[in-house]
């Protein structure tokens, strides 16, 4: 895995529908400066900058990394941009970590963002090329059939999705950066909202958010403040159009999990991990990923959700921050998972802190569930 690497700073913006008060540059700077403050550093202390975001069509800014280099203090330093669709925030953290693990740099600033209010994600994800049939469905329309297939295979009761939607939004009430705040949310409220892409209801889907997240990564000798040590990193991808591809539980996700668990010495994720921040943009992806990531046997992930195991007071809390269901600045959403995992093992997650969390999982997926990025962070050195 290379040299030791730690997260020593985390910065987030308050996620919201429209950040009309800042430019894109102002938005990413807000997160970056908060991460630097957390680490007790300034831009001058940074060796390289890695930035991630989802498709350029979202903001209509071609190659925003070029425009944002100066805003992130990258003048005279290496700067690169990562793009792996929705998983990009996670991949960006891992590219940044590899620069430290490989001994190239001592301190790397990693930033990811999206300003969804500048256009419309469904429009940007549904560019209708000639010769095809126009089925403008966006991400919800794309994932809904896979959720339906999971429900059929597993025989999960219909209300499981609503339970996840309620749990994550209740957690969001404890996170000052979360976008959706729905006091009093309950199953009846979720089930009273309309089906957008049946079987996905309105309150079972993620919001469109503006926001940015940043972390400072450090080599062992350059650590300042409270470190979250990286115990394992893994990325996997798979072809979207391969015959026999399991769209409910993609092999790339299973392989990615197996790789990161092997590095971190995890044999039973449910037992060995204290808290997980997993990319769940539609409520049913919690039980689906519980199985894909090995927290539950096949077709039984929903039983953990139903039994409350993934709640903040359960034996394996998932998305204590409120998750993607509560805040979704797409390009940043993966990095937020990774950053929240780090905050937990640093003991700095505030009201949504899981007591004594020593080992945490950060996870992101993207595209048609074909890109995966994961890391395990811990309070102790690996």
């Amino acid at each position: 895995m290379g040299n030791r690497c730690a997260v020593i700073g985390v910065g987030q913006t308050r996620y919201t529908t429209k950040r009309r008060d800042v430019s894109i540059a102002g938005l990413v700077r807000e997160a970056a400066i908060r991460a630097l403050d957390d680490a007790g550093l300034t831009f001058a202390d940074i060796d390289a900058v890695v930035i991630g975001k989802a498709p350029d069509l979202f903001e209509g800014v071609m190659m925003p990394e070029a425009y944002l280099a100066d805003a992130l203090g990258a003048a005279g330093k290496p700067m690169m941009r990562v793009h792996t669709a929705g998983s990009v925030g996670g991949s960006t953290a891992l590219v940044g970590a590899s620069l430290v693990q490989g001994g190239v740099h001592d301190r790397v600033l990693v930033v990811a963002f999206e300003k969804q209010s500048e256009s419309n994600a469904t429009w940007a994800l549904s560019t209708h090329l000639p010769f095809g049939a126009s089925l403008v469905v966006g991400a919800g329309g794309y994932f809904a059939p896979h959720i339906r297939e999971y429900m059929r295979r597993s025989g999960a009761p219909d209300h499981i999705g609503a339970l996840v939607a309620v749990k994550d939004r209740r957690n969001a009430l404890k996170n000052p950066y979360a976008h959706l705040r729905i006091p009093g949310i309950d199953r009846a409220m979720v089930e009273s909202t309309p089906m957008l892409w049946e079987p996905i209801r309105y309150l079972e889907t993620c919001p469109s958010s503006d926001g940015a997240c940043a972390i400072v990564l450090s080599s062992e000798k350059a650590v300042t403040g409270t470190p979250a040590w990286i115990h394992g990193t893994a990325m996997r991808s798979e072809p979207l159009m391969r015959a026999g591809r399991d769209t409910v539980s993609p092999r790339a996700g299973k392989d990615c999990a197996a790789d990161v668990y092997r590095q971190a010495g995890i044999s039973d994720p449910r037992r060995d991990i204290d808290v997980a921040e997993v990319y769940v943009p539609f409520s049913w992806y919690e039980p689906m990923w519980l199985e894909n990531l090995g927290f539950a046997p096949e077709n039984e992930g929903w039983k953990l959700t139903e039994a409350g195991c993934t709640a903040l007071d359960g034996d394996i809390p998932w998305n204590a921050s409120g998750g993607v269901l509560s805040s979704n600045p797409i390009g940043a959403s993966g990095l937020i998972r990774f950053a929240e995992a780090a905050l937990q093992v640093r003991g700095m997650a505030g009201e949504h802190q899981v007591d004594g969390a020593a080992t945490a999982l950060g996870h992101a997926y993207g595209g048609g569930a074909q890109f995966f990025a994961m890391w395990i962070v811990g309070s102790e050195k690996p």
């Binding site: 339906r148 309309p194 049946e198 015959a243 026999g244």
Partner: protein, 321 residues
Amino acid sequence: MPSDAPTDVPTDARAVPEPLEARHVLEFPGGYTRSTGPVIGRFLTELRDRRIVGVRTAAERVLVPPLEYDPATGESVTGEYVEVGPAGTVETWAWVSAPRPGHPLDRPFAWATIRLDGADTSLVHVVDAGGSRAMRTGLRVRPRWRTETSGHITDIECFVPEVTVITAPVRAEYRVRPGRALTRFLEGIRDGVFVGGYCAGCDQVYVPYRISCPACGSVIEEEREVADTGTVETFAINNLPDPRAPEVPFVSAYILLDGADIPMIALVGGIPAHEVRQGMRVRAVWVPPEERTMSMTNIRWFAPTGEPDADLSAGRPGGGD
């Protein structure tokens, strides 16, 4: 001011003669000459030069517009003029949705009290905000000056919101050519058949036709025609309207054509959305031959065949990891 719009007159009142009425205008010819005094005069002189000034009181407050006296104490002001603004903040406002003749703008606008930066009092003026939704307490505004100024409060035509959002048109135009594989597939669609490609190494049939295998990377040499019937593996009922999409609710389904090893995403029709089932057997509904082009729009949708549903629990041939 009474409305001059006619009101409904009861039928039985029509016989009553209209009361005697005549128009009368009271207007001093040329307008009054009004002495400004030194303080208001200074204010208007500065306005003519496109500057806004206030005057400082003995209590260190800046009055805008300036007065000769501190209204709180009656004491004379200091005679020290302070440039303020030109930007300011809306403190409160009233929306005028139907401007009258004599109003400063001929379109809906707001009367607002505006606290200019550096001032301790607010000034009443006009805000041209486009619509009432743009108005709020705390809105930042700046003056829009008239081309010709004369030393009058209307030298500021109105205030307008500060620039916070711009629109950035982005347009990329391409000539799109389908590659060899898609062209071959669309030729088939023009002729009413689905052309697939068979990977001998993986023993899998790919539809639409393609010339390399996404699993093993080898070249696909063999074409295979597959049926226009298939099975709905799974689907979504889409309820979000989009001008580019079919009318909602519409069903987008993963359909495994008979003879293929990978499903295609297509529209299901000819059946109410809520009656579509996983395992349902369907057949392509083609547009008449004379209307066909090299496009997927040749297929209106897939409609039920009426056969018994397929058993999905057995899994798909060749499928699964």
